[in-house]
Amino acid sequence: MYRYIVKRILFLIPTILGVAFIIYFVLNLTPGNPGRSILGANASQEAVDQLNEELGYNDPLLVKYVNYMKKLVLEGDFGTSYFTKQPVMNEVLPRFWVTLQLSIIGIIISTLVGVPLGMLTAVKQYSAWDYIPSILAFLLAAIPSFVLGMVLLLVFSLKLNLLPSYGLDTWDAYIMPSLCMAIPITAFNVRFTKSSMLESIRADYIDTARAKGATERTVIWKHALKNALLPVITNIGLNMGGLIMGAVVSERLFSVPGIGALIVDRINYKDEPVIIAGTIVISITFTIIMLIVDIIYAYVDPRIKAKYTRIKG
């Protein structure tokens, strides 16, 4: 098992190398340059060129890439932002932490609400307990998150005056951004859990369990559920990764200083160091989350556990 974990963590290295390269490559293809974006339209071309030169922006792609990697690996230094001239991590880490917090809250809400609801709709299929949550889930999954966010803002901030619309100063400021992120995932969880559960209930081993004389309750909660939850676990991990990356809409709308908004803003300025560092941080987080999910999965599903604890020799 440990070997497996170590192997997965070592995979981070090619991931980071790849991410950095892709970003340099793509930014290289797009027009514009940081010098002009920073100095503005009024600056002379010489000044713009000089600034670009200073920032190292004019170096050929591979040179930039290798220099960046060297600095990163040998000194642990992610460089300084072209835009603010600050060490990149000073900006990236606090904002990453904010997004992570919101994502965690979002995942918790979406799991605690979505999964049980999904189970309910499966067990009580074709009844009102099925139709109402399923239709709701369908609708909520279809609504784009910025529309959802605006509705939340309108209702809870403007009309009801219950929740703050800005930033994260007070604890209740966390509610709406997390909800905005959580609701689409919750809808997804309901539908996915339902289908997984339905599949599980129709399995042959459920017949066996019933034939043993087990109560319907035991059949559902003990036999069907355990099996139904396995793919749901994987999805939770995937969703969390998706949340971190896709939080930018909520962050913008609720004026939350998160990492999604940071990266998107800096793309305009072609602030390569920040973009790369931000993306690397997100990639690492995603890899770790998936690793954790896989480990949990291995513990829950004995078929997978067997794969990883093969006796050597």
Partner: protein, 332 residues
């Protein structure tokens, strides 16, 4: 109910009713299983064998309904029982083994736990150690190392999985074991092994058995009485000698035996019974077998044949009179 019988099914009819159609799966069948004996229920796919089995243990799907008849077990009509009482029978007095061993075990529970579950349900006051002991004993009984109780289903081969399932079924020493094609999914050599084990356990524990199969070879090996089922009806029944060695047979039974390939003779093609089973939503008025019967007569299309009894051998065909004698050939 006859004292000698452990299970008597009288005039059982079962339908599957959906919004679109009503499927008449079982139509007025009668089966009597003697104590400590094995009854083989033979027929091709779709005959209604599994429906019958599930009706006994009352595990029909939501769309299945018993529309008539009774199922008496040890004097009690099972169809009258409330659900929580029925549960005390399942796994305890009547156990069922399903068809596909590969998917009939819960993949995330150890086999020991799955066997223990049966024991615990019906013996809630047993101590943990006692339960464990019984689990180990049961495993040993089916020929599996007791130490393997911590292993998971995926660590067993098909044949061993089926043994585990049989272990689960026999853990509480039921009076009646219903086996729905227990060896169909296994390969031939394993089949033989498992069959031998079943036979052995049956003899040791004195369990009565309802063996559902389409394989006449199995019937010959292990069954005492036989019922041939076609399109929801029992068209012929009797002891195993009646069926295998008797003189008169239902044309369907003839066809079944005829379709067994002969090792000695040379033939280009196996002899099948031409045609297919009738549409259960739209059964014919007369005899259900009329479309495929080579002896079909006019009366077969119009009138349902009556039972023809000769000792233990029962037939349901217009070719025979009530006493089991062949009628004068009356083609036309």
């Amino acid at each position: 109910m006859n004292e000698q019988n452990i299970l008597e099914i009288k005039d059982l009819s079962v339908i599957y009713k959906t919004d679109l159609e009503t499927v008449k799966a079982v139509n007025g069948i009668n089966i009597a299983i003697k104590k400590k004996s094995t009854f083989g229920l033979v027929g091709e796919t779709g005959a209604g064998k599994t429906t019958t089995a599930r009706s006994i243990i009352r595990l029909l799907p939501k769309v299945g309904h018993v529309t008539g008849g009774s199922i008496e077990f040890e004097g009690q009509n099972l169809l009258d029982l409330p659900e929580d009482e029925m549960r005390t029978y399942r796994g305890n007095k009547i156990a069922m083994v399903f068809q596909d061993p590969m998917t009939s075990l819960n993949p995330v529970m150890s086999v020991g736990d799955q066997i223990a579950e049966t024991i615990k349900i019906h013996n809630p006051h047993l101590s943990k150690e006692d339960v464990e002991k019984r689990v180990e004993d049961t495993l040993a009984m089916v020929g599996i190392l007791p130490s393997r109780k911590i292993d998971y289903p995926h660590q067993f081969s098909g044949g061993m999985k089926q043994r585990v399932i049989i272990a689960i079924a026999l853990a509480c020493e039921p009076d009646l074991l219903i086996a729905d094609e227990p060896t169909t999914a296994l390969d031939v050599t394993i089949q033989a092994q498992v069959l031998m084990m079943i036979k052995d356990l049956r003899d040791r524990l004195g369990t009565s058995m309802l063996m559902i199969t389409h394989d006449l070879g199995i019937v010959a090996k292990i069954c005492d009485d036989v019922g041939v089922m076609y399109a929801g009806e029992i068209v012929e029944s009797g002891t195993v000698q009646d069926i295998f060695e008797g003189k008169n047979h239902h044309p369907y039974t003839e066809g079944l035996f005829g379709s067994i390939p002969d090792l000695k003779a040379t033939a280009k093609r196996p002899q099948a019974i031409p045609g297919l089973m009738p549409d259960p939503t739209n059964l014919p008025e007369g005899c259900v077998f009329v479309e495929r019967c080579k002896y079909a007569m006019d009366i077969c299309r119009k009138e349902h044949p009556q039972l023809s009894v000769s000792g233990t051998h029962k037939l349901c065909c217009h070719l025979f009179d009530e006493n089991g004698n062949r009628k004068e050939a009356n083609h036309g």
